[in-house]
C-alpha cells in the first residue's frame, strides 16, 4: 500500500506535462490544416484586396500595392448589394425562426411521448439534404415560374394578379434562402428544446404565469442557446449566399447579393482586388454583427 502511494505521488507532477504534450501532438494536424487552408488564403485575400492595376497591363493583371481606396470604391459601387445581403439574410433568418421554433418545439417537447414520431419528424427535417442544394433550388424555380401549374391555377382562380411574377423578385430570393436554411435552424433548436425541463414550465404555471408568459419568460430564455446557434447557422451562410439570388436560380438583376457581385468580379470582370475587398468586408461585417448579437443575447451561462 505504502509503496503504491509513494509511486503515485512521484508520478503526479509529471503527468500534466505529459498530457499537454500529447494534446499538442493531437492538435498538430488540425493546426497545420488551418494554417495551410485558412490562414494562408486569408493573408493572400487581404493582399489581393490591396492590389492596384498593373501599369500597361491587360484586364485582370494586378500588382501588389497598398491601394486601400479599393475598399472605398467597392462600398460606393456595391452599397445596395451589401445592404440587400444583410436585409435578405435577416428576413430569411426571422422567417426560418418563426417556422422552425414551433416545429422544433413539437418534435422536442410535445412528441417526447412518441419516440417513433419524434425520429420520423427529424428524418423529414433532414431528408432534403439527400438531394443536392442546387437541384432543390432549381425545382423551386420551376414551381415558382410563371408557367408552372400552381401559378397558372392561382391566376385562373384570380387569387393572383394576371401579371404577377415570382422568380427574379426579392420574395423568391428570401423564400429560397428561408427554405434552404430551415434545417440549420430547426436542428439546433430541437437539440435545446429536447433537453428543456418541463418542470420549469409547470413551476411557472404554478406561480400564476399564463401560457404566453410561461413561453416568454421561461421557454424562450431557456432555449436561447438553440436560438443563437440556429440564427447564426442561418444568418452567416445566408448573408454570403450566391445561389438563391443568382439569375440562374431564383434571383433577378435587382436582387443581386454580395455573393453574386463577388462571383461576378472574380470570374467575369476579373477585378480580383474588388472581389477580395468585398469578401473582407462581408467577413468583417458578419464578425461584428455576430459578436454584438452573441454578447447581447447573454447566453454565456446557459451554454
Amino acid at each position: 500500500m505504502a509503496f503504491a502511494a509513494f509511486a503515485t505521488t512521484e508520478a503526479q507532477p509529471q503527468a500534466p506535462k505529459k498530457k499537454s504534450r500529447i494534446a499538442l501532438f493531437l492538435l498538430l494536424p488540425g493546426l497545420l490544416y488551418l494554417v495551410l487552408f485558412f490562414l494562408t488564403p486569408l493573408i493572400s485575400l487581404v493582399l489581393t484586396s490591396l492590389q492596384a492595376p498593373a501599369e500597361f497591363g491587360d484586364i485582370g493583371q494586378f500588382d501588389y500595392a497598398f491601394n486601400w481606396q479599393n475598399y472605398v470604391v467597392v462600398v460606393q459601387d456595391y452599397l445596395p448589394h451589401i445592404l440587400r445581403s444583410f436585409g435578405y439574410a435577416l428576413a430569411a433568418t426571422v422567417l426560418a425562426l418563426l417556422f422552425s421554433y414551433p416545429l422544433a418545439y413539437f418534435i422536442g417537447v410535445k412528441a417526447r411521448r412518441w419516440p417513433l414520431l419524434q425520429s420520423l419528424m427529424l428524418v423529414l427535417v433532414i431528408a432534403p439534404f439527400f438531394i443536392s442544394f442546387l437541384l432543390r433550388t432549381l425545382a423551386w424555380k420551376q414551381i415558382l415560374s410563371d408557367e408552372s401549374f400552381i401559378i397558372t391555377s392561382l391566376k385562373a382562380l384570380s387569387l393572383l394578379a394576371p401579371d404577377a411574377h415570382f422568380t427574379g423578385t426579392p420574395f423568391a430570393v428570401i423564400f429560397g434562402l428561408t427554405y434552404n436554411f430551415i434545417p440549420f435552424m430547426t436542428l439546433p433548436l430541437y437539440s435545446t428544446l429536447e433537453r428543456l425541463d418541463t418542470r420549469y414550465l409547470e413551476a411557472g404555471s404554478d406561480l400564476y404565469a399564463n401560457p404566453l408568459t410561461v413561453f416568454r419568460k421561461i421557454t424562450v430564455p431557456l432555449s436561447m442557446p438553440g436560438i443563437v446557434a440556429g440564427t447564426l447557422l442561418t444568418f452567416i451562410p445566408a448573408a454570403g449566399d450566391y445561389i438563391n439570388a443568382s439569375r440562374d436560380f431564383l434571383g433577378g438583376t435587382d436582387t443581386q447579393m454580395m455573393g453574386n457581385v463577388i462571383e461576378a468580379n472574380f470570374l467575369v470582370l476579373l477585378n480580383y482586388p474588388a472581389a477580395a475587398a468585398l469578401s473582407i468586408i462581408l467577413m468583417a461585417a458578419i464578425l461584428v454583427l455576430v459578436g454584438v448579437y452573441v454578447k447581447r443575447s447573454g447566453t454565456e451561462d446557459l451554454l
Binding site: R199, A203, D206, Y208, V214, L222, M224, D301, L302
Partner: protein, 399 residues
C-alpha cells in the same frame, strides 16, 4: 378567491370522489379527502402510491379523470393551474436557472401585479435567512439553500394552500431536521394550509397535525399521528408507520372487554375497543417497543400476553435502545426494542427468552384473512425489488 390578492388565511381543501387514470394504469382509485383550513396535513405513502399525483391534481398540473376539487368551498376542478390560489414547493425545487434568486422569488408576485414585489421578495428571503444571496443564480447555491429559496418563492405569494412535494427528500439528515422545524414554524406564523407529501414516516409524524397513509391509490387510514401509531387499522399502516409484530389466528373467546385469539400456540388477548374485527380469523399486533424480554419464564397473569420460549437470532445495539429479533416457534420472527436502561444487552444471540406485553398495548387489524403477512423488512431483497419497480412506475407517472 381571486389570485390577485393575498390569502388572509388558509383555505379548506376538499377532494370529492377523485379518480385518476393514466394510459395503462390507475394512479388513484377513489379518493375523498377534506383538509381543514390552517392545518398541516401529511400524505404519507410509498413511491407510486398516488400521493404525488394527488398533489399535482390539486395544483392543477393534472386533470382528474373523475371527481371534483374544491378550495375554500369553490370548485376549481376546471380552473387552470395559473388561476388557482395554490403554490407548490417542488421535489426538484424547479428554480428557474436563468433568473437570480430574487427574480425567482418575485416571479409569482410580478405575474399577479402585486405592488412592491421586490420588497416582499426580500422579506420572504429574510424569513428563510437567505437575503444575502439574493443576486446569485440558483446553481450557485447548495441543495439546502435551493430548498429554502423554493419555499420562499412559494410562501411569498401567501397562497391559501401550500403544497409540498417531498421538499426535504434531497437534504441530509441534519439539514432535514432543521428544515422540518423551520417549515413548522413558518406554517404556524403565516397560518396557511399545508399539504405535505412524503414517504418519510418520521417526517410526517413530527410535522403534521393529521396524517393520511396512502397505498395503491387509496387512503388506508387517516388521523392524528399518535392515533395512527397507537391504533393502526391495517397491516400496511401498522408496518409503514413504524414497525409491528403481527400474529394471525382465529378468535376463540370473547368477554365484554376483550377478545382472545389463538396464535403461535398461545392465547393472545386484545381489548375489544382496540380491535377492528371481533370474529373469525383476525390479525393482532403489538409495537416492538411495547414488548418486554424475559430470560426466565414469567408467571402468567391476566393483564399480560406471553409468548415463548423463543431464541434470540439477532441483536443490534443502537445507543438508546437495542433491537432483538427473536424466533418464536409458530409465530416467526418477533422484533423487540428494549430501552438501554441497564448496561449492555440483556440477552445474547442464541439465548432462550420469553416475550410479554400488556394486553392494553395490543391492537386488532381490519385486514381480510389471507391478505396480511409480515411486511418485508426494509433490507430484504424482495422489498428492494418492489421499491425499484414502484420507483419506475412513479417515474413513468411523472411523464
Amino acid at each position: 378567491m381571486s389570485v390577485r390578492e393575498f390569502a388572509e388565511r388558509g383555505a379548506d381543501l376538499e377532494l370529492v370522489g377523485i379518480q385518476k387514470r393514466f394510459p395503462g394504469f390507475t394512479a388513484i382509485e377513489e379518493l375523498d379527502l377534506t383538509i381543514p383550513a390552517g392545518s398541516f396535513f401529511a400524505l404519507l405513502g410509498p413511491s407510486g402510491c398516488g400521493k404525488t399525483t394527488t398533489l399535482r391534481l390539486v395544483a392543477g398540473l393534472e386533470e382528474p379523470t373523475r371527481g371534483r376539487i374544491l378550495i375554500g368551498g369553490k370548485d376549481v376542478t376546471d380552473t387552470k393551474s395559473h388561476e388557482r390560489p395554490v403554490n407548490t414547493v417542488f421535489q426538484s425545487y424547479a428554480l428557474f436557472p436563468h433568473m437570480t434568486i430574487i427574480e425567482n422569488v418575485a416571479f409569482g408576485l410580478k405575474r399577479r401585479r402585486i405592488g412592491d414585489a421586490l420588497g416582499k421578495a426580500h422579506e420572504a428571503l429574510r424569513l428563510v435567512e437567505l437575503d444575502h444571496l439574493a443576486q446569485r443564480k440558483p446553481q450557485q447555491l447548495s441543495g439546502g439553500q435551493q430548498q429554502r429559496v423554493a419555499l420562499a418563492r412559494a410562501i411569498v405569494n401567501r397562497p391559501a394552500l401550500l403544497l409540498l412535494d417531498e421538499p426535504l427528500g434531497a437534504l441530509d439528515l441534519k439539514l432535514r431536521r432543521q428544515m422540518q422545524l423551520e417549515l413548522k414554524t413558518i406554517q404556524e406564523e403565516v397560518g396557511l394550509t399545508f399539504l405535505h407529501v412524503t414517504h418519510d414516516q418520521e417526517e410526517a409524524m413530527t410535522m403534521a397535525d393529521t396524517v393520511a397513509v396512502m397505498n395503491k391509490g387509496a387512503i388506508e387510514q387517516m388521523g392524528a399521528p399518535e392515533v395512527l401509531y397507537e391504533l393502526p387499522r391495517t397491516s400496511f399502516v401498522a408496518n409503514f408507520l413504524g414497525q409491528s409484530n403481527l400474529f394471525t389466528g382465529d378468535v376463540v373467546g370473547t368477554t365484554s372487554t376483550a377478545i382472545s385469539v389463538e396464535a403461535a400456540g398461545r392465547r393472545i388477548v386484545v381489548p375489544t375497543s382496540r380491535a377492528q374485527r371481533h370474529q373469525g380469523e383476525i390479525t393482532v399486533g403489538v409495537r416492538p417497543e411495547k414488548v418486554a424480554l424475559h430470560v426466565e419464564a414469567p408467571g402468567e397473569t391476566a393483564d399480560r400476553n406471553l409468548l415463548g420460549p423463543g431464541r434470540v437470532v439477532d441483536v443490534s445495539f443502537s445507543g438508546v435502545s437495542t433491537q432483538y429479533i427473536v424466533d418464536v416457534p409458530g409465530a416467526g420472527a418477533v422484533v423487540v426494542f428494549a430501552q438501554n436502561v441497564g448496561s449492555g444487552p440483556v440477552a445474547g444471540v442464541g439465548a432462550e427468552v420469553w416475550l410479554s406485553w400488556a394486553v392494553d398495548h395490543g391492537f386488532g387489524l381490519d385486514d381480510e384473512p389471507g391478505e396480511t403477512g409480515r411486511f418485508p423488512a426494509d433490507d430484504s431483497t424482495r422489498s428492494i425489488a418492489v421499491q425499484r419497480r414502484e420507483a419506475l412506475v412513479s417515474e413513468l407517472e411523472e411523464h
